[in-house]
Symmetry: C2
DNA sequence: TGAAACTGGTTACACATGGAACCATTTGCC
DNA sequence: GGCAAATGGTTCCATGTGTAACCAGTTTCA
């Protein structure tokens, strides 16, 4: 007989739910309290150390497609959180970086986000945390292999 | 100095990406090959053993809100995959179950989904798999606690 | 140098999703 | 019994997202 499929033990389902619940719960911080969407938050987090990069690169780093990046950038810029400076080696592109207000906002959100994550991870030992990230890593590379051979 | 936030080691980010990639990759099977959305697939999986339940209960089991369930049900019904029978204890509700076509489709998709999952999990040992599911469990209950105390 | 292919980024369109309003029925309670 | 509150489900609306088309600028290569 065929092995029974049980959603509760089906990784895609469990993983989706977990991600969704995490996002929802964490969004309390940046969405509700700071009015920043997930996409915007990712950009803040990427440029938070003061770096300056093109939208393209932001997309690569944050794993977002260019449309999503473009929109989040527009929105951040309209709030004066992001600065855009023409790129002198390629006039189609622009270099993006946080304005000082952007930096300020980032410095307010980041510690909260980390504190929140710490709370979430509290029931896991150090070894478990490492193992968790390690498995995520493995699964992602595995997905890459599977896609490649498809 | 404040601990640096690095997206690559930030669980919400990693977990979201993983879930997204898994969904995307798996959707090849049920979306592209069988024309079934994620919501619809979850319903198939829930009723696949022949059970019969109300939309409300499906929502609880599959972790979907009632709007999403309602739409997926309509869609499955329009394809003749789902049957709806009035519930005699409550005339607002209806009892849903797979039609024989629905059962048939389920029996075609489920083994593929399981095979796919097996491939994905291949790089993880049995112990690792158990640990992974265990941690997901812990994180979800932790999220529950955090929400409750918020 | 000049045309074709390519690339960074934006816009237009289609679609899935969730919250709120809604309808019909059921439950709780006096 | 009867009225208010709650509940199962559907519909409406606003929003976020991805694909495809698009524009402007850049690379390639004959």
């Amino acid at each position: 007989m065929t092995k029974k499929l049980n959603l509760a033990q089906f990784l895609p389902y469990r993983c989706n739910n977990l991600a969704e619940q995490i996002s929802f719960s964490l969004s309390r911080i940046y969405v509700e309290r700071f009015g920043v969407s997930v996409a915007q938050w990712r950009i803040l987090a990427t440029l938070g150390d003061g770096s300056e990069m093109q939208a393209k690169e932001i997309g690569r780093v944050t794993n977002m497609d260019k449309v999503r990046v473009s929109r989040a950038v527009t929105s951040l810029r309209s709030r004066g959180l992001l600065e855009r400076k023409p790129c002198d080696t390629d006039s189609r592109a622009a270099l993006l970086s946080l304005s000082s207000e952007g930096q300020h906002l980032y410095r307010r959100i980041a510690p909260e986000a980390l504190r929140w994550e710490e709370q979430l991870l509290q029931p896991l030992s150090h070894a478990e945390r490492q193992s968790l990230f390690g498995m995520i890593e493995k699964l992602e590379t595995r997905l890459g292999e599977m896609e490649a051979s498809a």
